[in-house]
């Protein structure tokens, strides 16, 4: 099978079915954009996990004068109880990485920093601020150990895992990712059906050539190859568009928009984008070749 002959066949084929070719390109582009985006959202969640899980702490809030939790019935925590908690935390090393005691003064300044644009900051007083142990864990997933050890102990008002708050965010993002993946899956199915139909039309419009090829003993492979390449070329164009869409999204949406607005977290870098592109190529070309091949089995029988 000669290269020039193949190239000519593929090009005439693409031009002959220009509307279907365009439809295939567009559906491939849209479905792969979604597919790539969902992979990028997953990368983003991973990125944020890596970034935040290093920084999250378990906070053990201690009873102050105004605490109303049942464990605080004895009023503000005593110095002995504080020392005991500190000793118990020390005993939990190496799970416990670092221990930091936050005083009411520090709590107040942190509160004012967090709510500096709100009237709350003005009215807050030092009495309202709880003292707390800020504990960093070597393995952030082992929160339950700390909770079991300190929650409900006299003088401890509450044990809060910052990670749980983050996990809610990550769950929302994962939900978004799943949704994009499902839509991408449906779109890819539509694409497969469209490619299959395109092949049917192409096989029909070239039935004269293919019937002669069969008669003179051309191999199945050489009869089907121009058709499969036709589908693959269309899919390749679509994949290129989808790749372009991701690159544009990375530049305009992430780099120029999100990253400048939400400075408190990191965003995925180019390595993630380039890591996703091979999968998109694989999905696009694989789908086209498999869908075309299966259809041709039926319409270009020996």
């Amino acid at each position: 099978m000669k290269f020039r002959y193949l190239l000519r066949e593929v090009m005439t084929g693409l031009r002959r079915n220009i509307t279907l070719t365009l439809a295939v390109m567009i559906t491939v582009a849209v479905s792969l954009s979604l597919f790539g985006s969902s992979l990028l959202v997953r990368a983003q969640v991973q990125e944020m996990k890596d970034f935040w899980y290093d920084k999250v702490e378990v906070s053990i809030f201690l009873c102050g004068n105004i605490s109303d939790s049942p464990t605080c019935a004895g009023g503000a925590i005593s110095e002995e109880e504080k020392t005991q908690i500190n000793a118990d935390l020390e005993a939990l090393k190496p799970l416990v990485d670092t221990i930091y005691f936050e005083t009411q003064t520090e709590a107040l300044s942190r509160f004012k920093e967090q709510f500096k644009n709100s009237p709350l900051a003005e009215t807050a007083t030092i009495d309202q601020m709880p003292e707390s142990f800020r504990v960093k864990l070597s393995d952030p997933t082992q929160y339950a150990v700390i909770a079991a050890a300190f929650a409900g102990r006299p003088g401890v008002e509450d044990v809060v895992d910052q990670r749980q708050a983050l996990d809610r965010l990550f769950r929302a993002l994962s939900g978004l990712q799943t949704l994009a993946l499902v839509i991408a899956g449906v779109m890819l199915l539509v694409t497969a059906l469209l490619i299959s139909n395109t092949m049917r039309v192409a096989a029909f419009s070239r039935r004269r050539e293919t019937s002669i090829m069969r008669l003179v003993g051309a191999s199945n492979f050489s009869i089907q190859l121009p058709f499969i390449l036709e589908a693959a070329v269309a899919a390749l164009f679509g994949t290129t568009f989808a790749t372009g869409a991701l690159v544009v999204g990375k530049i305009y949406l992430i780099d120029q928009n999100l990253a400048t607005t939400f400075t408190f977290t990191t965003f995925i870098g180019w390595d993630s984008v380039f890591g996703v592109i091979p999968w998109m190529l694989l999905a696009g070309l694989g789908l086209a070749i498999v869908a075309a091949g299966l259809t041709l089995q039926r319409y270009l029988k020996v």
Binding site: I212, G217, S219, N220
Partner: protein, 220 residues
């Protein structure tokens, strides 16, 4: 070739065709002539019995070997089946291109074959610019360009006037003399009577007559 196929189209047909023979397959429309030819090409498989072509049992031939079989069989049809967007030479070359023959080879073989079928000087014409007889010569050239062991012709003169038909028959006869087995299905009484070749008559899927140097109408 041998076959025995109890099925509606052909029933218990048992025929041997020797290498180098010229055989007419005659019979009314729907008698099973075309089915016979389709079996030889492995376009159909018999529900029972065997088909042997060139020493191979087609019923046991795996499908990926079918193209190799078909390279040994040339095919000519009543409706020529040429590609309208290719020249005479292009149509003949197509048969070689699609089985991967090198360009040099093609450039060498095609003019030879076109000369054999008497189309020198018409290489660059398109099918719609030449007569029906010439189109059939192109089809024969295409069928013969691979030097097949067997040439199958399904009513090759069905669309041609008697005079042109004689020219085509002379060409097929010449190809037969070169050593190619020719099996030709036809309705053309005059041609069969004139050629005096082996005649196999099929009626209702059964062989009703098989005689060497036969004529069309006798017996049946």
């Amino acid at each position: 070739m041998y076959k025995g196929a109890p099925r509606p189209a052909l029933d218990d047909v048992s025929v041997d065709i020797e290498k180098g023979e010229f055989v007419f397959l005659v019979g009314a429309s729907g008698s099973g002539k075309s089915t016979f030819l389709r079996l030889v090409l492995r376009e159909e498989k018999p529900t029972a019995g065997n088909v042997w072509v060139g020493g191979k049992d087609l019923t046991k031939l795996s499908s990926w070997k079918v193209p190799t079989l078909r390279r040994q069989i040339g095919c000519v049809f009543q409706d020529f089946r040429l590609l309208p967007n290719r020249t005479v030479a292009g149509n003949v070359a197509f048969a070689l291109e699609v089985i991967g023959t090198p360009n040099k080879e093609i450039e060498r073989i095609v003019p030879n074959v076109l000369e054999l079928v008497g189309l020198e000087g018409k290489e660059e014409r398109y099918p719609n610019e030449i007569s029906g007889g010439e189109q059939q010569r192109v089809a024969i050239a295409r069928a013969f360009v691979n030097k097949p062991a067997v040439l199958i012709a399904d009513e090759p003169t069905g669309n041609l006037d008697p005079e042109t038909s004689i020219g085509i028959m002379k060409l097929l006869d010449r190809i037969n003399k070169i050593g190619t087995t020719v099996v030709m299905a036809t309705h053309d009484v005059a041609i069969v009577d004139q050629m005096r070749k082996r005649v196999i008559e099929i009626d209702g899927g059964k062989v009703v007559r098989d005689q060497s140097r036969g004529v069309y109408g006798m017996g049946a």
